[in-house]
């Protein structure tokens, strides 16, 4: 199944839309931090939403043009951790105020599907509405599900949104496992730099010059909190590149130096070094970074060309997508 890409949206550290995102990508990567500014329409109701939901709403609005039938539009939301701020807030409330005084607002915001519900309400979306979670390939998984909704004619258009937030508790968790970039003694090759952000794509069943030609997912049985071993991951990546046209670029997952080396080794001479895009240092490591990298690929494909997008997740998940722009 392939689909036309009809709109994109992005919010990332230093970027509030596609244009500012391209500027971030063209600059040397700094340590990604939090998203400083989340664009909104100024209404008070939206501003009261938690950050995760405001990021999701901002990118959805960017990707969604006027004229799309919202009554039948499918929404697929991808997130690794959902409303983590709300979860921690609820647990803190239980610990400090007592279980009988839990916050009902924090409770419903802790549900992974809460952002999708808020998007439906804010944008009037009444079609199929799904939330998927697959650690660091959550966004890619959302794309796959959206393509299947289009293929089975459950929708003619599908809005894919992914969002994840960086919070101190998650940073502390990476530190506890000794893989945080700021952890004393963490090996530079395995350390991860956490980040946050959101991205959106509007996909359609119609024809169009810019398309997702392929989206494949595999999950290798792997120990928890480990990536798939190089010898397991590499054949899949090589096969994906072999299916692409000559001269295609590759967007590497590259969550750490060690994994990037494994991806480079897997590609060997098949893809010139100059055609390998390494965007994760700009975005940070988080479950929605894959969809943000896909938006980066779409923005770079201003002229005819093709990109193979590779994703890897803790727990053994792996994804491959091919995005192509043709003349016309």
């Amino acid at each position: 199944m392939s689909a036309a890409i009809l709109g994109v949206g992005v919010v990332a550290p230093g970027a509030t839309d596609g244009a500012s995102f391209l500027r971030v990508l063209s600059s040397p990567p700094g340590a990604p931090a939090r998203v400083e500014s989340i664009p909104d329409t100024g209404d008070a109701k939206t501003r009261r939403l938690p950050r995760l939901e405001r990021m999701a709403l901002a990118v959805a609005r960017q990707a969604l043009p006027q004229g799309v039938d919202r009554d039948s539009l499918a929404l697929v939301f991808g997130t690794g951790y959902g409303g983590l701020t709300a979860t921690v807030e609820f647990l803190e409330g239980m610990a400090t105020r007592g279980a009988e005084f839990g916050s009902p607002t924090a409770f419903h915001q802790s549900v992974h599907h809460s952002p999708a519900g808020q998007l439906s309400i804010a944008l009037g979306l009444r079609g199929p509405s799904l939330t998927v979670s697959a650690r660091e390939v959550s966004g890619e998984t959302a794309v796959k599900v959206a393509l299947d909704l289009l293929a089975t004619k459950r929708a003619r258009h599908a809005l894919v949104v992914a969002a994840d937030e960086r919070i101190p508790a998650l940073d502390n968790a990476y530190r506890a496992f000794g893989v945080h970039a700021e952890s004393p003694g963490a090996s530079p090759r395995v350390r991860l730099e956490p980040g946050e952000g959101a991205a959106a794509l509007l996909l359609g069943a119609e024809s169009g010059p810019l398309r997702i030609e392929e989206c494949l997912l595999i999950a290798h049985p792997t120990a928890p909190l480990h990536f798939a071993r190089p010898e397991v991951m590499a054949p899949w990546l090589r096969a994906g590149v072999a299916r692409a046209s000559a001269g295609a670029s590759v967007s590497l997952s590259a969550p750490s130096g060690e994994v990037r080396d494994a991806e480079d080794a897997a590609l060997g001479d098949a893809v010139p070094v100059g055609s390998r895009w390494v965007d994760t240092p700009h975005l940070g490591f988080h479950p929605s970074a894959g969809l943000i990298r896909l938006v980066a690929a779409v923005l770079r494909l201003a002229a005819p060309g093709e990109c193979v997008h590779h994703g890897l997740a803790l727990g053994g998940g792996q994804s491959l997508m091919r995005v192509r722009r043709v003349a016309g």
Partner: protein, 388 residues
Amino acid sequence: MRGVAITGVGIVSALGSGARVHQEALRAGRSGLRPLGLFSLAGLPALPVGEVEGASLERERGPRCLDLAMLAARQALAGADFSGSGVMALGTTTGGILESECHYLTHRGQEGAEERELLRHHSAGTVADMLAAKLDLSAERHTFSTACSSSANAVGYGAARVEQGAPWALVGGVDSLCRLTYAGFHSLKLLASDACRPFGRNRQGLSLGEGAAFLFLEHESRARARGAPILGYVAGWGCSADAWHITAPHPEGRGAIAAMQAALADAGLSAEQVDYVNAHGTATPANDKAEALAINAVFAGEGPLTSSTKGSTGHTLGAAGAIEAVFCLLAMESGHAPESVGLVEPDPELRVRHVPRGGVQAPLRVALSNSFGFGGNNAALVLTRSES
């Protein structure tokens, strides 16, 4: 959807473990609800919940959800053929949060220790990762987390993939009781002080539960070629969003109507052909009212036999859709529509055709199962006894 055969099922809930145990419990009108014992929370009473007895579970190295999921998945996989690149689709709301919340509440404030389990268990996809590793399954892996409709969507998605050509799909759902949902539903004032009474005049709210159910799906032609018994079919899946309120259903059941109609259209069946509806039926005042209105809108006349099985199992949240899909299969197999345990005095304003006490023996060929969740998410599944 055509030809998506169910060739294996597995289930664990407060009623016990295994399809036969559940079939007998439903026929007997038994409830698995008893006072919460898995954990205690100062300031909150131990209300009736559908808690799985520990003796049923083999302790895996992982969250309680993994124990529940492994037990049900192993039952569903007995005799399954995994050749080819299949799909695993699991629905869960809380995943491994019972463990991460416990660790957090115990170790909060201790530098370097407090959030370790948050990373290990909090992502909803973790249970599927661990389950696949335990079962050594190299499959495309999907975790749906659409609150209380999670596993209904997982079943529907997996079935759609089989119809598209996937050789097999392991689909289902799991959720365990945890402090977050117990205190959370209490904060929303949605918990009943005694056992829940779906569609009852004096219904007060829901009783929480836990459990898991899995179905092994493959195309009918593949099942027949290998001589696998066909237990039934997933014939239709519909899902929708209310776009109304983050925790309350649309008051007229607009999204629920859309989901049921989409599932029936997907199955190529008319509303008149449905023999039994397993309602979402949480026993909250708002859900049961909106769902009854939606059922009235979809089904003309007195409508099909309708019951909620949440008085037997409690509301198992993300697992409910898969558990209740298995209940529909069991009902069709035995020709016995189960009663709504806990329903003593029906609410006269909710005009659905309740299954009477003791259940009803009747030929059941087509069943529809509803699952609705936070965020205004609605899912409906149509299951059939035979393809014809």
